[in-house]
């Protein structure tokens, strides 16, 4: 039915036109009708083209819907663990404080991002904040370095800050996240990078639709001592008698290392949750858009179909009336 209409359309358009190419009768009429249509601009979109588009949009909708469900199930699994790990760093903050405004010479910015894409804008916000922190903390006598976790931030930061990247670690989520793995990673970072303050940038998971970009600051033991003597938030540290080691600084060093690995663990889990949540909402809006597109294409398809039926009817009727006289 559609083929017949196409053929008729092709012939109707070809007749009044003086085509520069000889009309070759061996060539299939469909090809010629397509060429004629391209020649004229699209006077009538063929139903075949619309149908192909609809098929591909429908496939995309199915895929994005499936991706959304996968992200939802992964989110559920990781959300409980993230909430459980939140309690871990709070005592540290209560004891040692979280002072992002501390003034130190060597800053290290640890940016946590995802490896896979299609997760909305969370990686861009992390990178934006890292760059902002870098600008804030660079100046005379101050230096700032990056440690990057995750492929996406690496791709963005390598472009303009290649010389400042100390370490880049990817494929974090190949095995399910656990504390031992993150502790080893934290150890690696502490060994290889000189730092006075570590600023961890990640997306905190507040709810399935809300991700807050946050930064947690971990200070090195020397800076902790300096700030404790200076008073202020950390001044309370001195009121605690420190036991369990040869000297106070040894205990403080162990304490800050433990703090760093706990904060890292929490940050990595929260970022993973935010990634899954962002991917869920991105895939959801994508499948909704695909649905809208499909509606519009269906309307176009129906209009095209009805137009071709109408023209066929007109031809039949005019042909019949011409025969009658």
């Amino acid at each position: 039915m559609a083929m017949a209409a196409l053929r008729r359309e092709g012939r109707r358009i070809a007749a009044p036109l003086i085509s520069p190419q000889p009309i070759n009768p061996i060539r299939s009429s469909i090809a010629s009708s397509d060429r004629e249509q391209a020649f004229l601009g699209v006077r009538s979109i063929s139903t075949q083209v619309v149908r192909n588009r609809m098929k591909s949009v429908r496939n995309i909708q199915k895929i994005t819907k499936a991706m959304k469900m996968v992200a939802a199930s992964k989110l559920r699994a990781i959300q409980t663990r993230a909430e459980n790990s939140r309690g871990l760093w709070q005592p540290f903050t209560a004891l040692l404080g979280d002072t992002p405004s501390v003034d130190v010479k060597k800053n290290v910015i640890v940016t946590i991002s995802s490896d896979k894409g299609l997760c909305g804008g969370i990686n861009s916000t992390s990178v934006k904040i890292s760059r902002g922190l870098y600008k804030l903390n660079s100046g005379p006598e101050k230096e700032c370095k990056y440690v990057i976790l995750g492929e996406k931030a690496k791709a963005q930061l390598v472009r303009d800050s290649k010389k400042d990247i100390e370490l880049a670690i990817t494929e974090l989520q190949k095995n399910p996240l656990n504390y031992t793995q993150v502790a080893v990673l934290a150890d690696d970072i502490l060994k290889n990078v000189e730092y006075d303050a570590l600023r961890i940038v990640y997306n905190k998971f507040q709810s399935v639709v809300a991700f807050l970009p946050t930064t947690s600051t971990v200070l090195s033991p020397e800076i902790v001592e300096r700030e404790a003597e200076a008073g202020g938030k950390l001044g309370e540290l001195d009121s605690y008698e420190i036991e369990g080691g040869e000297t106070k600084s040894e205990v403080l060093q162990n304490l800050t290392e433990f703090q760093f690995s706990c904060v890292m663990f929490n940050a990595v889990l929260e970022n993973a949750c935010s990634e899954q949540g962002a991917r869920m909402s991105a895939m959801d809006s994508s499948s909704r858009n695909a649905g809208d597109m499909l509606d519009r294409l269906t309307l176009t398809y129906n209009r095209t179909r009805q137009a071709s039926i109408t023209t066929e009817l007109i031809e039949i009727i005019s042909g019949a009336s011409a025969l009658e006289g």
């Binding site: 871990l88 005592p91 504390y179 036991e243 369990g244 080691g245 433990f258 706990c262 663990f265």
Partner: protein, 133 residues
């Protein structure tokens, strides 16, 4: 006046309630904590934490971390913690034997250190089980 004890590990909260007294093992020996203890922050060794509720003592195996005591609030952060009642004595004994065998087989400084740590952990778990029974 009771103490509020919180034992936290990276994976979950192991204990969060009021207790009468605790005995904690640190790097420099065991310390007992009663209400109104002076504020201290200390490192916790791989060892047993004893908790007293009313007149009953509970044991918990801790795998190293930190403790902060102040204002009748005790916060213990450890790499891992298990309640004595949750440990299977048979399995703990087997783990201990495996750890001992590994220590004998270990070569190289790093392996020896790791085997030692594993042995201490296994021993702590066995002690935690035995201390209750």
């Amino acid at each position: 006046m009771t103490l509020n004890l919180c034992v936290l590990t990276p994976n979950r909260i192991v204990w969060d309630s009021e207790v009468k007294e605790i005995i904690l093992s640190t790097n420099s020996g065991q310390i007992g904590v009663l209400p109104n203890h002076a504020p201290i922050a200390t490192a916790v060794d791989i060892g047993i934490l004893r908790i007293r509720l009313k007149d009953q003592w509970l044991t918990m195996a801790l795998m190293g971390g930190f403790a902060r005591i102040g204002n009748n609030e005790i916060t213990v952060l450890v790499n891992d913690a298990e309640r004595g009642s949750d440990i299977d004595p048979q399995e703990a004994q087997e783990t201990l034997e495996i750890a001992e065998a590994n220590l004998r087989k270990a070569e190289g400084k790093r392996q020896i250190i790791e085997a030692n740590l594993a042995l201490r952990r296994a021993r702590t778990r066995v002690e935690a089980v035995n201390a209750i029974s």
